[in-house]
């Protein structure tokens, strides 16, 4: 398989880079600033593309790679891959579902606690020496609160299970009601937001869910409510969120994703009711390894004519 050309769109976890390099003829796209030239020279040997949630495969790239057979994304989200075009051309697409479900759910609880109990601020307080001058202020209890989840898929369900152990009540909004779950369904996001203390975005990004968190939802969530986004930055109307936080119309936020990564709205720095993370959900060693193994497994299965492990298309 060492002669099969694989185009790697972005730097990845070192284990994945090394294994791709070992098993295929690997082209690291960012090393070729003259991409047009590069594609002319090598397009005919490239049969696979590996990208991630930020580096996708659009129609233009698909057209430039006539021998492309498979796009194996090192992510769950595939909103930057032109799935319809892939279907049209018979190009297979795989992602890395499930292996990061638990980690993202763990991070969600970690973010909720970090915001409500001001963990990062407490840590800053001690490191700055302020504790010598007085105690930190009262924070907000998590146990027993109502958690509203947008999207009761794998991640949403995993979040719900964890929050239940904290005696939280769970409610949700989903495209369709899930009667087999014991959680309270709300037919709209605004209604969900009005009736919960902690609103968690856990749905995939689609045209319908773009800016699903807007001004109306934020006002419904209210000055005592907090927003947790572990989905995609574009789930949230970011300028609206910023003004809601600055004006105190929303009580706080924990954000792992942003509309225009790596740009984070400057106004949010220094707000002690906001915890910002540089897209770390999936950053543990265990998850990165598991995701890499899925990317490699899918590529190998394809080129050996075996069934794909986690196909989307």
């Amino acid at each position: 398989m060492e002669s099969i050309g694989v185009l790697l769109l972005c730097p990845v976890f070192s284990y994945l880079d090394q294994e791709l390099d070992k098993r295929f003829k690997l082209y690291r796209y960012w090393n070729y600033p003259q991409s047009v030239q590069f594609l002319k020279e090598h397009a005919n040997s490239i049969r696979a593309v590996v990208g991630n949630s930020n580096y996708g495969t659009d129609a233009a790239l698909i057209d430039a790679l006539p021998k492309l057979e498979i796009v194996s994304s090192n992510s769950v989200g595939v909103d930057k891959i032109d799935l319809n075009k892939c279907r049209e051309k018979g190009i297979r697409v795989t992602n890395t579902p499930d292996v990061l479900t638990d980690e993202v759910a763990d991070l969600t609880i970690g973010l909720i606690l970090a915001v409500l109990r001001r963990l990062c601020e407490c840590d800053r307080y001690v490191r700055s020496g302020k504790w010598k001058k007085g105690d930190y202020k009262l924070t907000t209890k998590f146990s027993g609160k109502t958690v509203g989840i947008i999207g009761l898929g794998r991640i949403g369900t995993a979040v719900a299970k964890r929050a239940e152990a904290f005696n939280c009540k769970i409610s949700y909004y989903s495209r369709t009601e899930k009667p087999e779950s014991n959680y309270k369904y709300h037919p709209s996001v605004v209604e969900l937001a009005s009736n919960c203390n902690i609103l968690v975005v856990a749905c995939p990004l689609t045209e319908e869910t773009h800016h699903i968190i807007n001004r109306e939802v934020l006002n419904a969530l209210g000055p005592k409510g907090i927003l947790i986004n572990i989905g995609r930055g574009k789930h949230v109307d970011e300028p609206e969120l910023v003004s809601a936080l600055l004006e105190g119309r929303v009580g706080g936020a924990g954000l792992d994703v942003f509309e225009d990564e790596p740009n984070v709205p400057e106004e949010l720095f220094g707000l002690e009711n906001v915890v910002l993370l540089p897209h770390v959900g999936s950053a543990t060693v265990e998850t990165r390894t598991a995701m890499a193994d899925l990317v490699l497994g899918n590529l190998e299965a394809h080129f050996q004519g075996k069934p794909l492990l986690t196909p989307l298309v």
Binding site: D102, I109, A114, C120, D123, Y136, V264, L277, A283
Partner: protein
């Protein structure tokens, strides 16, 4: 000032005291002994107050309540502490003198357990460390070398002390897919987790230790060099009990030298002083003894203390919950 309001000697002082004092200034005469540098006998005589007029103390763990102080108040019958722990009180002397000690009981167990989980997730997944980097990410600077994050799921978590707090911690950990085990003074027959007879034994089988037991003579430095050695290089310790449950000097040494993986610490041997070596480490999360401090617990303890003192001075049983002994 001599009044016919009952005297309450205040030590510490408890976090609730300023609010409590303003709310109940017409019910009690609060003696703010915590603010005085005089020894108790001189303090009382400076106010023309007889030691025998003091039947109740309100305190927290910021000041010790030693035997000689207890003995100097012949009418003392009730000691209210707004803490769960009683390591600041000479309990044998209280028992000897027939002084009832009312504590916060299980009031804070949920808040403390929540916080312990928060610290545990933060240390393993590097949440506070990543938060510090978020600003650099904006400017596309290379992030500082955050130590790699590790999953919570699958970790073996050893709980040191399966009391009220330990039980709540275990319950919260279950859906995370952690293997839970514990050591405690006695084995709990109704509990599904494996029991180990000592901290060393549980540490040998754990990736993470969560320390939530009370501080007594037996549990002083229960997490010592041998326990840390058994836990190993990748081990993580979370402490929401008391600073002196851990040999702090040894812990700091191991964190600095890389002989232990990380720590989440809400308590320290000499609060509010924190060993300065910790202040620059990315594999520790530090907090200012804040695990129990929420608005909810604050209001709850206000009500409990009010009901307890009211029932005591009225000599009537309370209609609302009072503090446990």
């Amino acid at each position: 000032m001599a009044t016919d309001l009952p005297n309450i000697l205040v030590m510490g002082p408890p976090l609730i005291f300023p609010d409590f004092q303003s709310q109940y200034s017409h019910s009690y005469n609060f003696l703010t002994f915590f603010a005085s540098s005089l020894p108790l006998p001189q303090y009382l005589s400076s106010l023309n107050i007889l030691p025998s007029s003091i039947r109740a103390i309100l305190c927290n763990n910021m000041q010790r309540v030693p035997a000689d102080l207890l003995r100097s108040l012949p009418s003392l019958a009730l000691l209210v502490t707004t803490t769960m722990g009683t390591d600041h009180i000479d309990m044998p002397e209280c028992r000897r003198l027939g002084v009832r000690v009312a504590t916060a009981g299980g009031s804070f167990s949920e808040d403390v357990a929540d916080f312990a989980l928060g610290l545990l997730i933060d240390v393993l997944m590097r949440i506070s460390a990543a938060n510090r980097c978020a600003k650099k990410w904006l400017r596309s600077e290379l992030p500082r070398n955050i130590p790699p994050a590790s999953r919570v799921g699958g970790k073996r978590v050893g709980i040191v002390g399966l009391g009220k707090i330990g039980t709540e911690v275990a319950k919260r950990l279950e859906p995370f897919g952690c293997k839970i085990m514990y050591t405690s003074r006695t084995k709990k027959s109704s509990v599904p987790y494996p029991f180990y007879g000592s901290a060393v034994e549980v540490a040998a089988e754990s990736d993470v230790l969560v320390v939530c037991c009370s501080l007594t003579e037996e549990t002083h430095h229960i997490v010592d060099r041998a326990v840390m050695e058994a836990l190993g290089k990748e081990g993580v310790i979370v402490n929401v009990g008391r600073g002196s449950l851990i040999d702090e000097k040894e812990l700091v040494r191991r964190l600095v030298s890389g002989e232990i993986g990380g720590a989440g610490l809400d308590v320290f041997q000499n609060e509010p002083l924190v060993p300065c070596e910790l202040l620059s480490l990315d594999n520790v999360v530090l907090s200012p003894h804040a695990a129990a401090v929420t608005s909810e617990s604050f209001h709850h303890i206000m009500e409990l203390v009010a009901a307890t003192l009211h029932a005591f001075f009225e000599n009537k049983p309370s209609l609302t919950p009072v503090m446990q002994d």
